[in-house]
């Protein structure tokens, strides 16, 4: 690989970056010389990776995540590591141990989360592309709030190797950029099988977006326009869907009754997995070190109390409880049933329609501090989590503004039809291009 460097000195007014690489090197390839920001829960060899948590302060991975190795091989320059909700737990990027990221469209508002740093870095014009991760909407939510494009690929389409796990069965790495073409380009680099992630599939992505959606059948699930969804946001999304109809698509009203239990199932599953995934952070091998001569058990307690923020501690406790003997059947096992119902619901709908459309988020970006009550923050994930439960691809593409803030149109597709959701987003983007 030919080695060149770029200078990267962004004016980071939004606290988008936790770590800036000032002179990143790059090589030849599709992404030659492109500065790409990487969310801080994706391992980067030689670059501190903290998941925005104190407990990982000082941890420098000795290896690259598969997706990072791929973008480096394609010539990208790693511009830095972006801020996020600690371990991906949140929808605002306020749960970072290193301060919140601000929304470039309005600095009194949050950028969304948990990939808020990546979204702000793109929206603020600091980088052309970024890698985010999406466990329950963490790519799509900040994309919608910051007015950029974000793709949550099909589960298994992009290797998770090197993604510091929060909820393994739900999450995936995905591309974020200002345009659908750039998202598609980055996706073409990171998709494909990886033998180090045996849940990944051999489905490379080699697609050039096409704006031809004539005859496409679009399902409009009523739940995506129901209770809790801001009427102005809903109206904006409906206008976008009308544009798609003008382009030749056919809309079909439909319903996803499983959504009633989706959010509850999601929070049981993600907290259960998190309680296990985050148990390894004990100060023995890396990150924060216990400065004490206590017994190992007491030292673990001390380090975990110091290192984890309140939202992370809350989710670990919830998950530990849900998996406890005597409660497993009541929570974890039930959540799996609800998850299966969500999957079946989507499968049934995709028998009749090609994609589903609705808002990405029920509202525009919150004011900083607005979601101080965890439950109201959890509720804001209602439109994004079903996609993660089902493992299907979904994209958020900007569709107008409400109170001057961007709104996201969410397009959901069949498993491994990431190309199709890209095309729908592209068709819309091209149609409204000024």
């Amino acid at each position: 690989m030919a080695e060149h460097t770029i200078s990267f000195n962004p004016d980071d007014r939004y606290n988008a970056f936790l770590k800036v690489c000032e002179k990143p090197s790059f090589g030849e390839g599709k992404l030659a010389g492109t500065a790409i920001a990487v969310k801080d829960n994706i391992s980067t060899q030689g670059i501190e990776t903290t998941c925005a948590s104190k407990i990982l302060k000082g941890y420098v991975p000795p290896y690259d995540a598969h997706a990072v190795a791929l973008i480096k091989n394609a010539g990208a320059a790693i511009a830095g590591k972006t801020n996020m909700d600690e371990f991906g737990m949140g929808s605002t990027t306020e749960n970072s141990a290193f301060g919140p990221t601000l929304n470039p469209c309005d600095v009194s508002r949050v950028p969304g989360g948990s990939s808020g740093g990546s979204a702000a870095a793109v929206a603020g014009g600091m980088v052309r592309m970024a890698l985010g991760t999406d466990t329950g909407g963490s790519i799509r939510c900040p994309a919608a709030f910051c007015g950029i494009v974000g793709l949550k690929p099909t589960y298994g389409r992009v290797s998770r190797y090197g993604l510091i796990a929060y909820a393994n069965s739900l999450e995936t790495i995905g591309p974020m950029a200002k345009t659908v073409s750039d998202v598609s380009l980055l996706m073409s680099v990171i998709a494909g099988h990886d033998r180090k992630d045996t849940t990944s599939y051999d489905k490379p992505y080699n697609h050039t977006p096409s704006a031809d959606i004539k005859g496409l059948r679009i399902g409009i699930p009523e739940e995506y326009f129901g209770k809790g969804v801001d009427p102005e946001v809903a109206a904006s999304v409906r206008r976008a869907i009308s544009r798609l109809e003008e382009l030749g698509a056919v809309t079909v009203p439909c319903s996803t009754p499983s959504m009633e239990y989706a959010l509850a199932a999601y929070y049981v599953i993600c907290t259960s997995e998190a309680s296990s995934n985050l148990a390894r952070f004990d100060g023995v091998r890396y990150g924060l070190v216990a400065d004490s001569k206590k017994s190992w058990h007491a030292a673990y307690q001390e380090i975990r109390k110091q290192g984890f923020g309140p939202e992370v501690r809350r989710r670990i406790m919830l998950g530990t409880f849900a998996l406890s003997s005597g409660y497993y059947g009541k929570y974890y096992a039930k959540a799996q049933v609800a998850r299966e119902n969500v999957r079946k619901d989507f499968a049934r709908l995709f028998y009749e329609v090609d994609v589903l459309c609705g808002p990405t988020m029920p509202t525009i970006a919150f004011k900083l501090g607005e979601k101080s009550d965890p439950l109201s923050m959890y509720l804001s994930d209602i439109l994004t989590v079903p996609v993660n439960l089902a493992g299907i691809p979904a994209i958020s593409v900007p569709c107008g503004r409400v109170q001057g803030m961007p709104v996201g149109l969410q397009v959901m597709g069949r498993p491994f039809e990431d190309e199709r959701v890209i095309d729908v987003a592209y068709a819309y983007e091209q149609a409204v291009k000024p």
Partner: protein, 482 residues
Amino acid sequence: MIDADIIVGLEVHCQLDTKSKLFCGCSTDYRNDGPNTHVCPVCLGLPGTMPALNKRAIEYAMKVAKAFNCTITAESEFSRKNYFYPDLDKAYQITQYDKPLADGGYVEIEGDDGKERKIQLTRIHVEEDPGRLVHMGNAERGRYSLVDYNRAGIPLIEIVSEPEMRSPKEARKFLNKLRATLEYLGVFDSEKEGSLRVDANISLRGSERVEIKNITSYKGVEKALTFEVTRQKNLIRRGLKVERETRHFLEARGITQSARSKELENDYRYFPEPDLRPLRVQSWIKDISLPELPDARRERFVQQYGCSLNHARTLTGELKMANFLEAVVAGENGGLCDLAATWIADTLAGELNYRSMNIDALSPKNFAGLLHLLKAGTITDKSAVEVLRVMLDERMKGEPVETPDAVVARLNLAKTTGDDSALLAAVNAVIAENTKAVEDYRAGKNGALNFLVGQTMKKTRGRADPGELNRMMVEALKKAEQ
């Protein structure tokens, strides 16, 4: 109380002898290397790493399952067993919980009544070994402990038996059979330190069950169980109750000790490992082939070599010993079979055991040479044992091992024949030195002749044939009288 009232069940953990670890490419050959030298991001559990299953380990486990007639499940699943301990880098062990690789099956052993008995198995599952703590000083009072992750991720199988053994001895036999079978399958190396760990359940009929954790040797299992039987019987004799509890076996002291109750309070919060897909092995089963196993080989040894059943059992109970026998008799047209079986199963096994050596210490060629000398009448049984000891001692000291012929020549152990003047001289010397015994002999006292012959044997260091010597002594005594 008779032994039939003892009920024993075993959970046996065996390291599978694969080249690489269960979920990464690290080498499993760590025992001669420094701590934390056979590690990578995966087996260190670094954030973001994922397990990638080693197919070979699953094939090995399937061989074991097939050898014990288990049912291999169409779809099994890995689960996480969550607990905190510094040797467990991910804070969970990837194991199998409610969907193990194999169910049922049995291990056939020779019961205490001498009859073949089938000990039913509950299940066999695959899991990863954790790392290892090295305590500086004492685990309780030491200032700190060090952790070595070389062992982390070594593939293990756990074989769980039904509580069907009726004595500590049967438990030992179960283990021996298990070890032999695994070695025959080529999936296990019993000589590697820590390659086997056993948890044993034991109860006396009508009493509570006691679990003994983490016994690390074959002998230890029998010892720990024997100790428990005595302890529990004593409790009952004194009118006390056996508590349902977990105990540790202290190998050095040969006793079991109650584990602190705190260690029992773990709730492992098992759930399916989301980083691995369900394991579907149905299509591999037909490709799993088994070699000749211990029982079949035992029968063959009886048939082919005319071994006694007992000798055949001993010989085939260890793969290397069985292989050694076949190497010794190879190309002998069956000529050495009788002798070889007896001498390997009885003499050689004893001499090796005494020196804590294994059978690799001796070449089959040298052993065959020794048997030839014996068979040809060149040396006596007693000399043969001496030659064997010399060769084993040479090997133990790292000296070049002489051939049996060389040992016999150097120590002048060749059997002395009647016209051998040296032997005659020895006989005459003994007669001259032991006038009292000679008088006793002439007085018709029993035992005097034996004494004189014994003295001569001593002088000639056993190389004379006892029958021959007897004849010579009587003759010489007669001559001396004249």
